[in-house]
Amino acid sequence: MIENFIAGTTALFGDPFTIGIFVFGVIGGMLFGAIPGVSMLTLAAILLPFTAGLEPAQGVMLFAVIYCTGTYGGAITAILFNIPGSPENAPTAFDGYPMTQKGQSGKAVGAAVLCSAIGGVASALVMMAATEPLANWAIRNIGPPEIFALVFFGLAVASSVGARTIWKGWMSVLIGLLIATIGQDPVGGINRYNFGLTDLAAGIAFVPAILGFFAVSEIFVQAEKTASGKYKAPKVSMTFPSFLELWMHKIAVLRSIIVGFLCGILPGIGATLAAFMSYGEAVRWSKNKDEFGKGKMEGVISAETANNAATGAAMIPLLALGLPGGALTAMMVAVFQMHDLQPGPLVFMLSPDLIWIVFAAMFYANLSILLIGLLETKTILNLLKIPFQFLAPLILMLATTGAYISRGLVLDVMVMFLAGILGYLLRRSGFSIPGIVLGLILGKIGEQNFAQGMQMVHYDLATYFSRPICSILILAGVLTLGSSIYRAFATAK
């Protein structure tokens, strides 16, 4: 492995043009990842035709690098302005933005930079060491019933995040789950709650909903404070987390790497579920659950470590089996095919050089997050000095553009503003925005896998529970749910 890694590194940095492509990918991924709506997928789609003119290794490497840095890019806007660059950065905003409001923006951004790099590097190392056996294990042991059980397990703690009471936390999750049912059902393709609107048949898209619930509702909250004279601009802090502070979160980092990696390795799942699941696990294992959603650094650490840990893991089924984990890895299949290659077992035998250049590039791209992230952070933090009356319209403009541009539908802009208004009213009443978003995102994934799982077990729940991983996860979810209900009653007394 070491020899191959050195050979990949030499090939990567031995050619100025290849270095140029690497640097372009690192910076382009970060920039496009940071702008809401214009995600790394947009950049990848633009670049796809141009990769035909590159060497196969250069083309695949460029996409792998964009994947790593693009996943991190959206964390900065999530932390500073409550605008997640993409759905996998949404859990970063749960605690990152409250940290900014508490004058701890430097710590939040620093933690995000460092943990993104750690998560990415760790998963790149595991990817290099054991791609083929891990891919084979995952597809043999994890099917739709297990993925549904994983989602159920994750949702079981969602009520604890950010709501005034556990009951309101559960109501928030249920609202999210209800919104997730809008659109065609994932198995039969039957329209639900679309009120005859064709555009709603596709369901509520994540990006406009997240922008509305986070960014727009926040503008309303701050505008209300400004109108009542209570607005206080967040203090700009350049203080990065100390080594001791980060060391205290070593278990959270390790846990998030494992969770992120496990979610990333599942075909069709990827970084979004990884970030949400990891955040949920941080809450589950914490002694101070009530602090989540209010500016706890562990929340930022868990989400950002996991979403980057998922990047290396998502390459495993792609490279070993030809199974892309998400839209960007699916585009990588197209890059392979443009050069008459097919990802899968043969590529390890036929093109080992390509594989190791990609592995090396992903390793160094994750290290670059650390370097460039720390360099850019001090400049970016100064954006917080912009007065609210200028910042608010800027954020609204950016969010509106982001909501529209992802699918080019006016409906998405309307959804964003409706989500903003709903989010504002629910926040005033003590409901949890993270809970709603968790319900929305996990609900869609969970419903699809539940339906597929039920078909696989012929609608027999007993068979469902006969699958060991599935039954363990559901049992653990039920226990969490039970303890949550017990705590709710105990608190009420």
Binding site: P324, A330, Q342
Partner: protein
């Protein structure tokens, strides 16, 4: 290594055989004068699916080919969702000036067959070209030991008393579900269909043994065929394509139904200016002949059978498909509007 060489050689022979029999450029004019200067700016191609799937890829390949040929850029606007209905609605609302074209698949025909208020791709639109036509197959794992061919598969499925599973995209009225109904009715077996809307989980389900078989088109699983991981046991087409000479067709296995084909093509509004439509027909039909597009189709097994239909051929294919779907929907008791 020996197995690897053997697989690669088989694939090469398959691709060559298909190419020789099915690729032919049928639009001879290498150039065409622009009518009134049209187009004087970039075209917009609405694609009702994401950029990474089969439609996204064929849209990108055709856009590249047409741009190579004409020098006119084509911006692709992806509007996924609702099994293609979101993109179709957006296209029908776009100006019918010839600057907007649409990529769509046979789902548009089956949707119209079920609900005639939805656009008919053959009459409400003008097909510029159908550039991919393919058939479906049933696949099993190559290392499967419980059954090895279609007869042993049917026998095994019957013994499972409805508990055998097959992965496909079994949304109501889809080509996959209708074809599976034909197959199960004709073979007298009952099999549980598991619907996966994305390719990767669907293929992973077969690879990992989560399901017993897979319903798919050969171009979408080419890498698994190349790697000798999947094996076709039934071709749902009237004759054996050269590339799959060892795989029996459904008719050979005693199933007497007309196969439904998967097709992808390009369209323009029916009320777009006629001279512009003629130019677009030339550009897209000739784009099919470009080397880059040919190479793309070959990589997708789309030269195994004739993938090309001009406007009239495409209309014929669409209308026949609509009639066929409508009959089946009625027989299935679906609410045909």
């Amino acid at each position: 290594m020996k197995r690897l060489f053997g697989t690669a050689a088989i694939v090469a022979v398959m691709a060559t055989a298909g190419t020789a029999s099915a690729f032919e450029c049928k639009r001879s004019e290498a150039s065409m004068e622009k009518p009134g200067g049209f187009p004087e700016r970039a075209l917009t191609m609405i694609v009702p699916y994401g950029p990474a799937g089969g439609s996204g890829q064929v849209a990108a390949a055709m856009a590249e080919a047409v741009t190579e040929l004409t020098g006119i850029p084509i911006n692709r606007d992806h509007k996924p969702g609702g099994s293609g209905t979101v993109g179709m609605t957006a296209y029908m609302a776009a100006p019918a000036d010839g600057y907007n074209v649409l990529e769509h698949i046979d789902d548009a025909s089956s949707a119209h067959a079920l609900d005639s208020s939805l656009p008919n791709p053959a009459t409400d639109l003008i097909p510029l070209v159908t550039s991919q036509v393919t058939f479906s197959q049933i696949y099993i794992r190559t290392n499967e030991t419980r059954y090895t061919d279609w007869p042993s598969f049917v026998e095994w499925v019957k013994a499972q008393d409805g508990k055998a599973t097959i992965a496909n995209v079994s949304k109501e009225g889809s080509m996959e579900r209708v074809t599976m109904k034909f197959i199960t009715d004709a073979s007298g077996m009952s099999i549980q269909q598991i619907s996966f809307d994305k390719g990767a989980p669907r293929y992973g389900a077969l690879l990992g043994g989560q399901v017993d078989a897979l319903f798919e088109q050969p171009g979408d699983v080419r890498n698994f065929l190349d790697a000798n991981q999947f094996k076709p046991i039934l071709t749902i087409f009237d004759e054996r394509p050269d590339a799959f000479a060892d795989t029996p067709t459904h008719r050979e296995m005693g199933m007497d139904f007309d196969p439904l084909l998967r097709f992808r093509g390009f369209y323009v509004h029916a009320d777009a200016p006629a001279d512009r439509v003629e130019w677009l027909k030339w550009a897209f039909q000739r784009g099919y002949c470009e080397d880059s597009y040919h190479a793309f189709n070959e990589s997708k097994f789309m030269t195994v059978i004739d993938s090309y239909r001009d406007t009239d051929g495409a209309k014929d294919l669409i209308m026949r498909s609509i009639d066929q779907y409508r009959e089946v929907y009625k027989a299935m008791g679906l609410d045909v509007k």
